[in-house]
Amino acid sequence: MTVGGVNRDDIYEALVGLHHGLDAEQSLLVSNRLILLLAEQIGDRDAVLQAIEAARLPDPVDRKRG
């Protein structure tokens, strides 16, 4: 599927490929490296903070009610 010139399946496949053959600790490291590189690539403080908010898990109280 392509939206706005981005092939999301390509990207997802590449993201999964990044973890190929890694154990949990290595996966965590590579994910964090990627997060830092992407945040730097975006280079827009508000856009990064917005994405961080979008990623946040609902707090435990909300989840219980949920």
């Binding site: 965590l28 490291l29 964090n32 490296r33 997060i35 830092l36 590189l37 730097e40």
Partner: protein, 562 residues
Amino acid sequence: MTEAPPASLPYAPLPYSPAPELSGGPVRRWPVVIVGGGPVGLAAAIDCSLHGIPALLFDKDDRVSDGSRAICWAKRTLEIFDRLGVARPVVDRGITWKLGKVFHGDQLIYSFDLLPEEGHKHPAFVNLQQYYVESDLVERARQMPGVETRWQSRVVGLSEDGEGVVLEVESPDGGYSVAADWVIACDGARSPLRDMLGLDFVGKVFQDRFLIADVKMAAAFPTERRFWFDPPFHPGGSALLHRQADDVWRIDLQLGWDADPEEERQPEKVIPRLKAMLGEDAKFELEWVSVYTFQCRRLKRFRHGRVIFAGDSAHQVSPFGARGGNGGVQDVDNLIWKLALVIGGEAPDSLLDSYDEERILAADENILNSTRSTDFITPKGPGAQALRDAVLSLSAEHDFARRTVNSGRLSIPAKLTGCGLQTPDDASWAGGVAPGAPCPDAPIEDALARPAWLLDRLGGAFVLMAREEDLASGNVRDAFPGIRDLAVLGIAEAGEALRSDSGVTDVSGLLTERFALSPGSFYLIRPDQHVAARWRSFDPKKVRQALARAKGLDATHLREIA
């Protein structure tokens, strides 16, 4: 904290004699009483004297600091020490440095130069044990008229009597009381005065322990700050190495929250850790050992009526960034000129509320920076740890990651921009020094063509600074006959004739560049060398208004001047 005193510190007891109040002498009312004879209290006493205010200082001990404690004195502090007359012994004995290196494992990942430009009287940092700095301040305080220091004198009670404060004091020869108009509480992180007033001191405790060891050794390490994440000699922890005077080195090792502080400070435990770092055959003596936890917290307000808190009694930070001692000295620099104006009846006592506004802003900046550094060094939980480790793993190849590595953002002075005493710009400026910022130094020549420094000419009083030609064409030297505490400083270009003995020459052009001092520009500079206001053209009315505002005079006064 328990620790053995260093073998080499200047440990002569400070002189004690029974207080005159004990032998029926009159109970004198002091304009200022300072509680605590550490660097902050001593600096306050000296600054009071420079402003002509008699000050009495109490300290519960009769010795200078029993350990090296604060060792990194920042450029801004050295500039303040210079105004107080103690910069020379501190700089002469101390270790000047400006380079820092950060390692991950055994790889150098980041190095920095804290003062990359020339043309400043003082270096970025001088390292000197706190006990030496205190000795120099004690010696200076002894020379200052109007300063009295009483050692072995513990303040045990405090009450307000309507006109001022009454302090109960215990000394080896008995108890007595003294009266004060103003009390400055410089009695440290565990401030008894704070407890006497029942004030909360809340914030954040970091779940980590650090070993701090001072060792004496003839080592070949260069004079630079070195910080390691996960070094081969101390796997899983961080390490810090700093050089001090007398071949003493500060070593700081992260131990983790589970470490037993009693056990960790025993030499049989400390020495193997140090040998792992310095080499099995390294020859060194242990001078001082301590095991610390760190906290970042502050009082909600620093001024409580006639009692004003300064230094660690008001705010506490972790040591990464050298923001404790330096922050405390800057508190004093901000406070004493204001207190002098209030005591002299030239400003309302509400001027002291600006101390709260300005130094709380600075304390919050220091707390923010030292909290961020400590969070990087001591990640909270596995997620934060993994993210931190990812930053370190990217740092070898990526500049942004090197800049994210946080081993301490070293103390720089707070910019008081936006605080009430400053007059905001009414014109646009390309560069220069914005209202609220401290003045940068620059080399100058005096009227006799002797080399000097700009900051030697600023401070202590308000100063109006402009180019010599602008002072002459605006008759500025005659414009303020009634304002005795406004000095005028004229700046001439190299080769230009000075029109007054108080003018100076900007030989290198650095002053003009750093202040963007184009023709027509005027700066009003506060007694603590921070810019109060600046203009693109001279208007005596605006200068009077800005001066009144900087003294905390209210809107009524400002309207009268207008």
